[in-house]
């Protein structure tokens, strides 16, 4: 752990979107959970409020000493005592019962032995089935033949976020049996992509990386803003984020860029299930910023952003719903 390098400058606290929300005042902050807790375990029992982090990586990018705060916080989560918020327990129960954090509503499985797998993720299968259909038909129109396997389970990323290491290892084992049969995995969720690359060692491609150099045109009428997913820009990397902008601009989407586009919407890190009021409050601040910009809605590339912002009444399109093949 590199927490010894903390110079107590407070940059992480100023960058934290949870501390920047009125409902996030109880969160001890990235310094207490990421630096102090690993160093002073006897003082680390901050209780469930230590879980009020969206894992957006903003603190990590702000840190002048390159402390891996998110990693430290993930470890703390696995060491926390006590049952945790009821929403997190429900999620773990769902995974034990169905293999996914939410049960799948989607049933148009494609199991034809293609060498590419489209991996919609739990939210894509359970909550955003129209996004999953749009992504699948977009891939088909681009001549990317793919399977959608009923045997692919939760990637494990949300499980790590609630400290469920054992369950995460279990789903990884089952998933590897399925995923290793494919040459390539395409995902819609940046969290899944990050997990499959870092924890599974797979060359999983996010939809943005697949669409990068293809001829596309806009399906979004009017002016649209961008909701930049944290795990796309600060997880996979700034270039993938740039590619998202490039795809939309080349397709002819009228993009309105606002400074708030990079700020976390509150949809990650198990916040919507663990602390729904905080997740909603963060989403509402974002919705207000987008309303001020006078746009139709936002385009994003993350199911969690989609879900959390739609709950607050904003029109949100996933990248696969915003563009189509330019024939």
């Amino acid at each position: 752990m590199n927490s010894d390098r903390c110079i107590k400058c407070g940059s992480c606290l100023r960058a934290c979107p949870v501390l920047g929300d009125a409902r996030g005042a109880l969160f001890p902050g990235p310094r207490a959970t990421g630096v102090d807790a690993p160093r002073f375990p006897e003082r680390a029992d901050a209780g469930p409020s230590a879980l009020m982090c969206t894992m957006c990586h903003a603190c990590e990018l702000a840190c002048p000493s390159s402390i891996t705060l998110t990693k430290a916080m993930l470890r703390l989560r696995s060491e926390l005592k006590g049952p945790g918020p009821s929403g997190h327990l429900r999620m773990r129960e769902n995974v034990r019962a169905t293999g996914r954090t939410v049960s799948a509503d989607f049933d148009e499985w494609v199991e034809e032995g293609n060498d590419i797998l489209y991996f919609p993720g739990c939210i894509g299968l359970g909550r955003l089935t129209s996004m999953t259909r749009a992504a699948s038909s977009l891939l088909t129109s681009l001549d990317i033949k793919h399977d959608i396997s009923s045997r692919a389970l939760c990637c494990g990323s949300p499980l790590l976020k609630v400290g469920a290491l054992e369950e995460a290892a279990n789903v990884k084992r089952s998933n590897m049996e399925v995923l290793s049969a494919y040459r390539k995995v395409v995902v819609s969720c940046p969290g899944c992509a990050y997990q499959l690359r870092t924890e599974y060692g797979l060359e999983a491609k996010h939809m943005v990386e697949v669409l990068r150099d293809l001829p596309l045109r806009s399906r979004a009428e009017g002016r649209w803003a961008l909701q930049m997913p944290c795990h796309l820009k600060r997880g996979l990397g700034p270039w993938t984020a740039e590619d998202l902008v490039g795809i939309l601009e080349r397709a002819g989407v009228e993009l309105v860029r606002i400074p708030e586009e990079d700020v976390c919407c509150g949809g990650g890190g198990g916040l919507p299930s663990g602390f729904p009021e905080l997740a909603a409050s963060m989403a509402r601040s974002k919705v207000r910023a987008y309303e001020r910009a006078g746009v139709e809605g936002v385009i994003t590339a993350c199911p969690f952003c989609c879900l959390n912002l739609r709950r607050e009444g904003l029109r949100v399109l996933d990248i696969s719903e915003a563009v189509s093949l330019n024939e």
């Binding site: 940059s11 100023r14 501390l19 109880l26 990018l61 820009k233 990397g237 700034p238 270039w239």
Partner: protein, 349 residues
């Protein structure tokens, strides 16, 4: 069009990038982590150089109205703070200061302790009183220092109305997006706002936000969250660089490189033993005067190679440069000075 790669997103990197873009360069700016300027007071302690008008113009256009000259403000400890260029909300022109100050603090807010500031001001001959806002903020939140609730501003305006003095000293509560609150508070309370000069808080971050906004408008292509991992040199010429960000690395070509990284911090200069080492080991590092004075050796902002020859197209600015003295609190002026000089050197005779 010449392509410049600037490494470092602090005061030197941002200012130089904007100046270059305005001169027609195609600029890419890479950097990661909060720079020292974001932890500064956002006030310049040494007099500005030829760039004074340029900087004031940038600050004023962003709504952070500032002035140069002999300026005085009050620090968050209540001491008088002299500087050479600063925002109007935290300083006055020397000789034109307020007769007295009412200090208003937020209970639990570490960036302004009203009793202490009051006592310090009295000792320095400034008539003062102190007031507390009637609510508590959890200990870590104040560093974010943002009044998040509309009601909070109303409570503050009411407390200001009760102040005895015409001018009220407040903690730093105004990020760029909340600067309009100053006028609102003054209108609703009939008192003048004076922001306490505060390091490690909003003022430094606000200053940097203004520079970043200006660089972006000037057309600088920003790559926040990336760092330089290796350099490609051909003899004394820089050819390209590899940048890392997230799970990816990418190679970038440019005609000129400007290193505007920080000093002896993990991602700028590495301290090895009692000396300094360049993590890239490409350029000559001077350790004369110890780590605090050490940094890249340069001749007219041209970085030197280990052989002592000048690198043809590599320049330096800011805290990464070796210097014979480093004035206390003078880093921000030095960084901007360097940025200006490095840009002149890059433009050539």
């Amino acid at each position: 069009m010449s392509r410049a790669l600037v490494i470092g997103q602090g005061a030197a990197g941002l200012f130089a990038s904007a100046l270059l873009a305005e001169k027609g360069w195609q600029v890419t700016l890479a950097g990661r982590g909060a720079p020292a300027a974001a932890m500064s007071t956002g006030c310049l302690r040494s007099p500005p150089g030829n760039w004074r008008g340029t900087l004031l113009d940038i600050l004023n256009r962003a709504g952070l109205h500032s002035a140069a000259g002999r300026r005085v403000g009050v620090s968050n400890l209540g001491t008088l703070f002299e500087c050479a260029l600063a925002p109007d909300i935290c300083t006055w022109e020397e000789g034109n200061g307020p007769k007295g100050l009412s200090v208003i603090g937020v209970e639990g807010h570490p960036s302004l302790r009203p009793c202490l500031a009051d006592a310090m001001l009295e000792r320095q001959g400034v008539r003062s009183e102190h007031l507390h806002l009637p609510w508590k903020v959890p200990p870590d939140v104040p560093l974010a220092s943002r009044f998040l609730d509309e009601g909070a501003w109303e409570v503050l305006a009411r407390s200001m109305k009760e102040a005895r003095e015409e001018t009220v000293l407040l903690p730093s509560l105004f990020p760029l997006s909340d600067l309009h609150r100053v006028r609102w508070l003054e209108g609703h309370s009939g008192r003048k706002v004076l922001e306490a000069i505060t390091p490690l808080g909003i003022p430094g971050q606000r200053f940097l936000e203004v520079l970043a906004g200006h660089a972006m408008k000037a057309g600088v292509s920003m790559r926040p969250g990336t760092r330089l991992v290796s350099l490609e040199m051909e003899g004394d010429r820089f050819r390209g660089a590899v940048l890392a960000g997230g799970l990816e690395t990418r190679r970038l070509e440019a005609d000129t490189l400007l290193l505007a990284t920080g000093g002896a911090l993990p991602d700028g200069m590495a301290i090895s033993g009692r000396g300094l080492a360049d993590p890239l080991t490409t350029f000559q590092v001077s350790t004369a005067g110890g780590p605090l004075q050490g940094g890249y050796a340069h001749r007219g902002h041209h970085l030197l190679l280990p052989s002592g020859r000048e690198a043809a197209n590599v320049f330096g600015a800011g805290d990464c440069l070796a210097r014979s003295d480093r004035g206390y609190g003078g880093g921000l002026s030095e960084a901007l000075n360097d940025a200006w000089a490095a840009v002149q050197a890059m433009e050539g005779p």
